[in-house]
Each structure stands twice: as structure tokens, then as C-alpha cells.
Subunit: 194 residues, 2 copies
DNA sequence: AAACTTTTTGAACGATCGCTCAATTTTAAC
DNA sequence: GTTAAAATTGAGCGATCGTTCAAAAAGTTT
């Protein structure tokens, strides 16, 4: 945290994000966090202010990484829709085994928190809206390229994608390997409303 | 809890269910529960064994009430599909304002818990599967009546419904009144795959 | 109404919670 | 090399956690 603070801070926030993502806000204790980020309580509180403060940074970190991953998918293909599709597959299928938690951290947070943590709840909601906006931009591109019909707006289609992701991730966690996720995601982009 | 224990026990479990539903497993303390169910710790532990034991009963209670509500919808109309649709509207729209929490308690639990509470997690997953089975039965009826095409199995369609409900409830909590939930639920039953 | 069983009570246990702060160590400036 | 500022440490604070259990109360049996 002393010099080159930026790099260390990012690393610390990343580790905190993974723990919060895995266990959720309430089930994660400051002592858990102390262990994984290897900082003593005084330093944590000097840097992040509170358990809520660190969680808020974790939400921002998670969101930025998500958007970066989406942009990475976009860069790897000329088709906006197949970029979106491979992003969804990453979220729904790969996250099940490779991520700290199969669920979306933002959806988990929206589900977990109440008005007792209004600021964090708002942050999570806003992040979800921000991601939906990114989807809409991608879909607008796809429509401009003639990849997608224009009888629904990008916003409406982005909303549809968001709902499918949330639903599929709960479903994937519930049913584990039994769910034919791959097929379901294919259908998502070939059937109505696409 | 002394004589006629059944009635009181149901009432107690109902109140506990509402609190757990509102706040989630980890954020609900035994002292919170003591207050809302008006029992002293000794009695609670004599009756339910532990915080986990009471939560397990709450999950069962929640699931039974959900299935009972679905059957009630079925009894009020001759169309299995419109029964299903009004059930979905109840879950997604009415729950937002009238229930302890807009989210499904089972989805919330699947999202919140890890292997640290394996038994409770399994209970929640099984309840979601049980409800999906109920959906499938209703859809099979609809297919028999010619209300629904037969090119997808009841199981597949029930799965689709489950995913839409999970997704829509996260979406509803995120966007509040902004989301055109009514229209989206209509589409759900008129567009693919119905 | 005495004897016995069952249920309820609530003080209190040890553990852990989020967090503070005086003391110490590390870094930067001169 | 000295000094001032900044960052880090970790013991420990008061509060709360899930839970226990001896004592009291309520119910049942005879």
C-alpha cells in the first residue's frame, strides 16, 4: 500500500472480490478477509473504511471485469451476436466450475441485501443496469449489421438477455450437470425474440 | 407448544419463514427470530434443534405454500395455462410489494448458501425441482387439452418457466416499477416456446 | 392434592463479530 | 544521519452470535 499502491490495491481488491463473491456479504467476516488479502485490520480500515466500503469496491471491481470480459469477447469475433453468445456461455457454463461462485455476484447481492445496506444494494442494481446498457450497445451493432431483426429495440433485447442469464445461472446451480445449458443458450439466440 | 401443538407450531414456522425470507439465512439472528415468533431460546432449540433446523422447516413451509398457491390458481380457472400465468404474475408482480421479499426464497437460498450448509442447500434445490415438477404436470394437462403445442416436453417447458421466473424476479427487484413485467409475462406464454 | 412428566424460561457461556487505536515500523525529505 | 510523516501492526474493545441448562411453571396422572 505504500509505494506503487495502485498495483497492490488492485490485487487486494481482487482477492476480496473473490471471497465476497463466493460467500456473500453477510457470511464473509473481516477475519476471513484479513486472511485472504493478508492485511491487518488497521490497514484494511485505513484503506477501505469499513466492511461495506470494501464490498463496494468489490462490486465495482467485479463489474469492471465483467464488462472487460464482454469487450474481450467482442474483439475476438466480427459478429456482435456470437460475441454476446460466447460471453453468456462463459458466465453460465464456465463460471459454474471456474469462478468463486456459479451465481452472478450482482444478482446474488441484489437477492441478499435489504434496505439495511441501501447503498450497496443500489450499487449492485446500478452495475446490473450498466451491464445491460453494454448488451444494448452490442445488440444495436448487430442490428446495424443486419444480424438481428429490428422489431424490438436493443434495450428490450438486452433486457431479455439479462433475464435469461439470471434465470439460467440459478438453474445451473440448482441442477448442476443435469441441465443442457449449451443447448439452452443456443436456443436463446436463435428462437424468439432473436 | 403444549397441547394442540400443531396449530401453534405452524404459526411459529410461518413467522420464522417470513423473517428468513426477508433477510436470508445468515443475516437472520436467533434473537431476531425469538422476537418475531415470541419464543425463548430454550423452547426454540427443544422444538427445532438449531438455527439450521428451523430454516429447514421454513424452506418446507415456503415450498408447501407455493405449491398450494399454484393449486389454488388451478382451481380458479379451467385453463391450466392461464392458471400458470396468473401464478407467475402473483410471484413476480404481487410479491414485489406484498411479500417479505420480492425474490423467491428458494432461489435466494440457492444463491446465498455454500457447501458450509450443504443440507439446507440441498433442501432448497430439491424444493425448486419439486415445484418444476408441479409446473410440468400442469403443462401436461394443457397439452392434453390442446392448449399447448406438443413439440416440447412438459419438463422442457416447465424448465423454461422456472428460468423465466428466476430471471424476472431478479429483474423486478433491480428495476422496481420501471420494468413492464405484465407485458413480459404475457409474452412468456404467447411467444416461443409456447 | 400429591407425585410425576413435559414444557418454558432467561441468565449466561464461549466464540466470534466489526472495528479502534496506541505503539511500532517503514518511507520520504533534508 | 536525523527527523517528520505515513503506513502497518495486533491486542483488544463492546456488541452480538448460536447455543445450553438448571430452575420454574404448566400439564397430566393417580
Amino acid at each position: 500500500m505504500r509505494k506503487n499502491a495502485k498495483f497492490d490495491r488492485d490485487q487486494v481488491v481482487n482477492k476480496a472480490t473473490d471471497l465476497y463473491w463466493e460467500k456473500g456479504f453477510h457470511a464473509t467476516s473481516m477475519r476471513n478477509l484479513q486472511d485472504v488479502i493478508d492485511m491487518r485490520p488497521g490497514s484494511i480500515y485505513a484503506t477501505f473504511g469499513s466492511k461495506e466500503g470494501l464490498f463496494k469496491e468489490a462490486l465495482k471491481c467485479y463489474t469492471q471485469q465483467g464488462i472487460a470480459a464482454l469487450h474481450a469477447c467482442r474483439r475476438e469475433t466480427s459478429s456482435p451476436i456470437s460475441a454476446l453468445q460466447s460471453f453468456v456461455k462463459m458466465l453460465v457454463i464456465d463460471s459454474q466450475t471456474k469462478a468463486p461462485n456459479g451465481m452472478c455476484m450482482l444478482a446474488k447481492t441484489v437477492a441478499e441485501l435489504t434496505e439495511d445496506n441501501a447503498e450497496l444494494l443500489e450499487e449492485a442494481k446500478n452495475s446490473l443496469k450498466q451491464i445491460e446498457t453494454e448488451f444494448a450497445l452490442l445488440i444495436a451493432d448487430a442490428q446495424a449489421l443486419g444480424e438481428v431483426k429490428q422489431n424490438q429495440t436493443p434495450r428490450e433485447l438486452a433486457r431479455y438477455i439479462q433475464i435469461q442469464i439470471s434465470g439460467l445461472r440459478v438453474y445451473a446451480k440448482t441442477y448442476g450437470q443435469e441441465a443442457p445449458l449449451d443447448q439452452m443458450i443456443e436456443d436463446m439466440f436463435t428462437q424468439y425474440p432473436f
